[in-house]
């Protein structure tokens, strides 16, 4: 254990199997009365890599082997077992646990258990030394319910804010001292990028900097949270987690024009501060909720299941390698909502977390009982299969009526075709070409109507609905051809001992979603507040935001995490309330200055004695470049991506769909593919569209510099900014000032004025000498490009 933890309610008690045999009695006793005590009382000193006196308690073998004093237990012989003497406190030297005597009943339980032969239920593990994984899980912080914790008191009086009180308690322990608060200019730029991903305009900057009222910052935060750009920023964060893409990822990477509806749903949900529990439920089971909910929210909730529909596709035919697509669903559900890596359990019981293959295929059954849409693939091109199972965004009765009309229309066309073909056979040579032409045209029309997958008058979403509900069989070693036992659909058993009550005819997604969003769920709230935290600080309290399992990072501030999770649930799962809480802390508002004393103690700033300087992510870089240069269209695109019409689709694996669509809208609206990455996003560490991205990297590589120096895109942006300066100001000094306010949200320093003016003069003179274009304009464009390429533009203090 890395940190002390309050006594626990042992999780595994409830999961013990119903005993049926005498052997099981001993095992049931172990599950109910022995393991929880071992976990709670002994694990801290005898559980980890380093153990007191060499004794480990994580497996029967370890207890039999014992430690420096020899065997801890002798199965069948409680009176000869050192452990019993130690817990009875009758041993001369060893009395355990050291300060906290076990209750008498508990001591008797141990004696009874050893007498019964010390049975320990079978488990699988890959390393002889790692012991019972369920044992470790029971001790793992993230699998226990979040504790209701009160913030530590701060004797220094530095801050009353609950976050600050948790954080400063750690500083005091380590001898750290916080750096000074950030200045208002830094704070301004930081909060703009944190919340909306755009730089403040000079007017917005002035509004805040000239506002001396005590709640100026608070009101700024409110303004930004109310802005439509907020959802574009935070929706994009969620798109990383749900591996959003506008293509399917099959061998030909077919486009999904309807995917954008889900994208817009995410943006709208964040803007509306949709309670996170509802947000989760809609993405997993929105189609089912839609049938129960108000008609005006029908389409919205159906669209939400784009989360599942966007699971990665493979190969060429519909539903080919379906087990891998469902693996992506399961893995994304696990990582995004639960912070668990479930994928491993496809082929074998999880090596590190207590997730069995049974658990995996229990979830698999839920998603296998779900009808996913098919967006196309190589066999669409060959016209073997049309797009299918798109979800109509009309009420079911309307959709059914129109579908029926559509079917009739298609039938009539087919009949007409048959008729024409008959005529064609019978026709004389003179009439043949005319009929041939008619057949050809009608057939083309018929195919095209079918190909889109929906009647032309029915709007559709790339979303899921319940299919044929069935429990799934285990696929041995992950091979779908090798069937094992069938397992009932349910949630992960060690976290959810009770079966899900799945009504006949349903997949179980709704019940899974309900379980996930229970207020007392140990993971869901913690995982989400940690994600929010990560985007405000650059690193989560848990540094592995999608892995809260035993192999994930330990929280740097476990109590704070639990406190925030509790606040989150209490606030009605309000993401915006969490932003307000975090941003109002003094901790978040610290400057990014260094401090040698602190650096020596906590090099990585894990304990948050300063605010970490961060590079903008790919979208913020592009949006800022466009915004500052006046080229950004801040509206949401009203139409979809300019994909070719479906009638022209003919992509194959040898000729995959590959396109880049330029747009002046924000980067969240860029068309992103799976088999190729958008060139700008790839260059600046954009998200992986094939798998959930928990955290962006910000690599600094020369190709980025080459892009900034030499690309035609950058030249155009720099020219636009130069035009903006030239048309707004005539005085060079004023232009320089405007440039700095636009790019860096601050006025130039004393030195920057003459430096800039001299630069323009030298550049203009040199350009004139070689008669290269308009010397002065070129000089301003060059000046703009270098300001836009500079570190100050790319980093937020």
């Amino acid at each position: 254990m890395r940190f002390a933890w309050p006594a626990i309610a042992a999780l595994l008690v409830a999961t013990s199997p119903v005993p049926t045999k005498a052997q099981d009695d001993g095992e049931a006793l172990f599950e109910a009365r022995i393991r929880p005590v071992l976990v709670e009382k002994c694990f801290r000193c005898h559980g980890g890599e380093k153990t007191s006196n060499g004794l480990k308690v994580h497996s029967r073998e370890a207890l039999v082997k014992g430690g420096d004093r020899g065997a801890a237990i002798v199965p069948g012989e409680p009176e000869k077992s050192l452990l019993i003497a130690a817990i009875r406190r009758t041993h001369d030297e060893v009395q355990m646990p050291p300060d906290d005597k076990l209750r008498e009943e508990s001591v008797a339980d141990f004696a009874r258990w050893i007498k019964a032969g010390a049975p320990w239920p079978k488990y699988t593990t890959n390393s002889a030394d790692s012991g019972d994984p369920a044992f470790r899980a029971a001790a793992h912080w993230a699998f226990r319910p979040a504790k209701k914790v009160a913030p530590t008191s701060d004797p220094s009086g530095w801050s009353d804010h609950p976050i600050d009180r948790f954080v400063s308690a750690k500083w005091r322990k380590k001898g750290l001292r916080p750096v000074a608060a950030a200045d208002r200019q830094s704070l301004l730029r930081r909060v703009y990028f944190d919340l909306i991903g755009l730089p403040p305009t000079p007017e917005e900057a002035a509004q805040f900097l000239n506002d001396s009222s005590p709640d100026a910052f608070e009101r700024l935060v409110d303004r930004l949270l109310a802005s439509p750009y907020y959802g574009e920023r935070w929706g994009r964060h969620w798109m990383d987690v749900v591996r959003y893409a506008d293509t399917a990822g099959d061998n030909a990477d077919y486009p999904i024009p309807e995917a954008r509806l889900y994208r817009d749903y995410l943006i709208d949900s964040f803007n509306a501060d949709k309670p996170y529990n509802r947000f989760v439920r809609e993405q997993l089971a929105g189609d089912i909720l839609a049938r129960e909910g108000p008609p005006d929210r029908y389409a919205e909730q159906v669209v939400a299941t784009g989360f599942l529909a966007l699971s990665r596709r493979y190969a060429t035919a519909p539903y080919e390698f379906w087990h891998l697509t469902l693996e992506d669903s399961i893995d994304t559900v696990g990582q995004s909502f639960l912070g668990l890596t479930l994928r491993c359990a496809r082929c074998h019981d999880h090596k590190f977390d207590p997730i069995s293959s049974d658990d995996y295929y229990a979830l698999y059954g839920i998603f296998a009982s779900t009808q996913y849409p098919w967006a196309g693939g190589e066999e669409f091109e060959s016209k073997k299969f049309h797009r299918q199972h798109f979800a109509p965004l009309l009420s079911e009765s309307d959709a059914a009526r129109r579908a029926e009309a559509f079917r009739k229309q298609l039938d009539q066309m087919a009949a007409k075709l048959a008729e024409l073909e008959k005529q064609l056979t019978a026709a004389g040579d003179a009439d043949k070409p005319g009929i041939q032409k008619q057949v050809h045209e009608l057939r083309a029309e018929h195919v095209q109507l079918q190909r889109s997958g929906l009647p032309p008058d029915v709007p559709g979403a790339y979303a899921v609905r319940d299919g044929q509900p069935n429990d799934a069989a285990i696929q041995l070693r992950g091979d779908p051809a090798q069937r094992g036992n069938t397992v009932p659909r349910r949630a992960i058993s060690f976290l959810c001992p009770q079966p899900l009550e799945i009504p006949a005819g349903e997949s179980g997604r709704k019940q899974l979603a309900q379980w996930l969003t229970r207020p007392d769920h140990p993971l869901t709230a913690r995982v989400m507040v940690n994600r929010i935290w990560q985007h405000h600080f650059g690193r989560g309290i848990v540094a592995t935001p999608s892995n809260f399992g035993t192999r994930g990072a330990a929280p740097t501030h476990p109590y704070l995490l639990d406190y925030l999770a509790a606040r989150f649930v209490e606030s009605g799962w309000s993401v915006k309330a969490m932003h307000r809480l975090i941003l109002s802390s003094r901790t978040w508002q610290l400057s990014s200055a260094d401090d040698d004393h602190n650096l020596a103690i906590d090099t990585g700033n894990e304990l948050l004695w300063r605010h970490d300087r961060r590079r903008l992510d790919a979208e913020a870089i592009r949006d800022s470049l466009l915004s500052v240069s006046g080229r950004l269209d801040r509206s949401r695109p009203t139409t979809g991506h300019p994909f070719p019409p479906i009638s022209d689709w003919h992509w194959t694996q040898h000729n995959p769909f590959k396109d880049v669509y330029d747009t002046s809208h924000r980067s969240v609206y860029l068309m992103t593919q799976r088999l190729q990455r958008h060139p700008f996003l790839a260059l600046f560490d954009g998200p992986d569209t094939n798998t959930t991205t928990e955290k962006r990297t910000s690599a600094t590589v020369p190709p980025q510099a080459l892009y900034l120096m030499n690309s035609p895109e950058m030249a155009a942006i720099a020219s636009s900014l130069a035009e903006r300066l030239i048309s707004n100001e005539t005085d060079p000094a004023r232009r320089i000032e405007l440039a700095h306010r636009l790019c860096y949200a601050r006025p130039p320093t004393e030195a920057e004025f003459p430096a800039g003016i001299r630069y323009i003069a030298e550049y203009t003179a040199e350009a004139a000498r070689t008669a290269e274009g308009n010397g002065e304009r070129a000089a301003w464009a060059s000046y703009c490009r270098l300001l836009l390429s500079a570190n100050e533009f790319f980093y937020v203090d």
Binding site: T124, N126, C347, H348, D349, K351, R477, R551, S592, A593, D594, D602, T603, G604, E606, R613, R615, P679, D688, T697, S698, A699, T700, V701, P702, P703, Q704, A705, L706, Y707, M709, N710, S711, P712, A715, A751, A755, Y759, E762, Y763, E766, A767, T770, E772, A778, S782, Y783, R785, L786, L787, S789, A790, N791, E792, F794, Y795, D797
Partner: protein
């Protein structure tokens, strides 16, 4: 010829001296440029100056390539105890469908998959007892590159850049040629907690391996002026921020980028290569993408002082992961065999093999058993090759059991493999450390022994 630190700095400041339009910046350039990447002294005299790190993705089979097992051929379909991820079962052995023969004076056993490498057998050191910890691609690929199968850590190329710097300030210290992203993606060449300047730079085989290499203006002075002004702006920004390493690295990336603009186009211009050289690798006329082309470019990068050149042959699919049929190894081998052999011979005849180390590896081997005609992943014994500077050629090192299941003599863990490579480049793996989050980290964690017996 290694550059010393002073000459390195002079060369990067040379452009600044030419124009003198901005003298203050020229001084700044001399003071700060290249600090992170300047050549550093080795711990001991290095055998190799450069490393060519070839990763054959997907797990190539040891018992079908370099670890000949006659007994496996005899006992085809005999059941053995087979360890899989979850349990221990009985599975039938699968004989190799490929013919083996001895090659060279050394008599190294090499299968028919590698006819060209067979002809340079006496240059190759075959390590037959490599073993790793995890038999999943993602983790194993990461382990081969970073020594860590789980937590992202710096890549071996990044460590070498950090430890030794680079001899050519105008090219990245660590170049990765890879057409398709590998398992674990860019983490494979990441600098992780090392300063980002040490991170691998990916070049994309094809028409424009490096995008945006051409300056916007033909007037060199104008480009120079803008470049130096940017540097000035960045320098004062960084100076006010305690010279934050990330900021410094980004400043350095502009220096490198400018160097690339000068020397880059020439690196990929094969017009001066002799026809027999192209033939050696198997580069066809107009080819600018094949693995052969990549191997030839690797030589050109090594010639120009790049510390580590990595070649990754395939991406996450259509690679050496032959679960279904071992015959799938044939096209994969055919794609790389002549190219790698060509690189060995070309370096040799130019005298460059004396200070270049070629390391050819995969993430794990394949199980000697299989119920079908393919093979599963197998991590407890597999084969890699070393070749060139400081390595005994024509040597088969280590021994696996009669079927190639477990090492029985001289096992070499991935950490040992890394320690040996670092040793050949003049680095003591125990001493190349980086303090991060309160701990000294190194490529080999707390393990690793140099495999002395393979050193020449």
């Amino acid at each position: 010829m290694p550059l010393d630190r002073r000459r390195f700095l002079q060369s990067t400041a040379a452009g600044a001296a030419a124009g003198l339009l901005y003298p203050r910046l020229a001084v700044a350039a001399r003071m700060n440029e290249g600090r992170l990447l300047a050549p550093q002294p080795a711990h001991h005299p290095a055998k190799a100056r450069s490393l060519v790190f070839i990763h054959l993705t997907g797990g190539f089979s040891h018992v079908d390539t370099f670890d000949y097992k006659p007994k496996l051929q005899q006992d085809d379909r005999k059941k053995v105890t087979a360890e899989t991820l979850r349990d221990i079962t009985e599975q039938p052995l699968l004989a190799s469908p490929f013919k083996f023969a001895q090659h060279g004076q050394s008599g190294l056993w090499i299968s028919e998959l590698f006819p060209h490498l067979a002809r340079v057998a006496d240059e190759l050191c075959v390590i037959r007892t490599l073993h790793t910890d995890i038999l999943e691609h993602f983790q194993a690929v990461l382990a081969m590159h970073t020594g860590s199968a789980t937590v992202p850590m710096p890549s071996i190329g990044a460590w070498l850049s950090y430890g030794l710097g680079t001899a050519n300030p105008n090219l990245p210290p660590y170049v990765v040629l890879c057409e398709h992203l590998p398992y674990a993606g860019a983490q494979v060449w990441d600098a992780s907690f090392l300063p980002p300047a040490h991170q691998g730079t990916r070049l994309l085989p094809g028409d424009r391996p490096i995008a945006n290499l051409q300056s916007r203006t033909s007037n060199v002075t104008l480009a120079e002026l803008e470049f130096r002004m940017l540097k000035d702006v960045n320098e004062s920004h960084a100076a006010a921020r305690n010279n934050d390493l990330a900021l410094r690295a980004r400043i350095g990336s502009f220096d490198t980028a400018r160097g690339m603009m000068q020397v880059g186009p020439e690196v990929f211009d094969l017009s001066q290569e002799m026809a027999d050289t192209l033939d050696l690798y198997g580069v066809a006329s107009g080819d600018n993408r094949s693995f052969a082309w990549q191997c030839l470019v690797a030589r050109r990068l090594v010639e120009r002082g790049v510390r580590t050149v990595e070649l990754i042959d395939t991406g996450t699919s259509n690679n050496w992961d032959s679960h279904g049929n071992m015959q799938d190894h044939r096209p994969k081998a055919a794609r790389v065999d002549q190219a790698i052999a060509g690189l060995v011979r070309d370096l040799k005849r130019r005298g460059l093999l004396e200070d270049t180390l070629i390391a050819i590896a995969t993430e794990f081997g394949r199980s000697p058993w299989d119920p079908g005609q393919g093979r599963n992943h197998w991590h407890k014994a597999f084969t890699c090759l070393l070749c060139g500077a400081g390595v005994r050629g024509g040597l088969a090192y280590g021994e696996t059991d009669e079927y190639g299941i477990l090492p029985i003599k001289d096992p070499v863990h991935v950490h040992d493999y890394h320690a040996t490579i670092l040793h050949l480049l003049g680095i003591d793996h125990m001493r190349l450390t980086y303090r991060y989050a309160g701990r000294d980290f190194r490529l080999t964690d707390v393990h690793g022994n140099v495999v002395q017996a393979i050193l020449s």
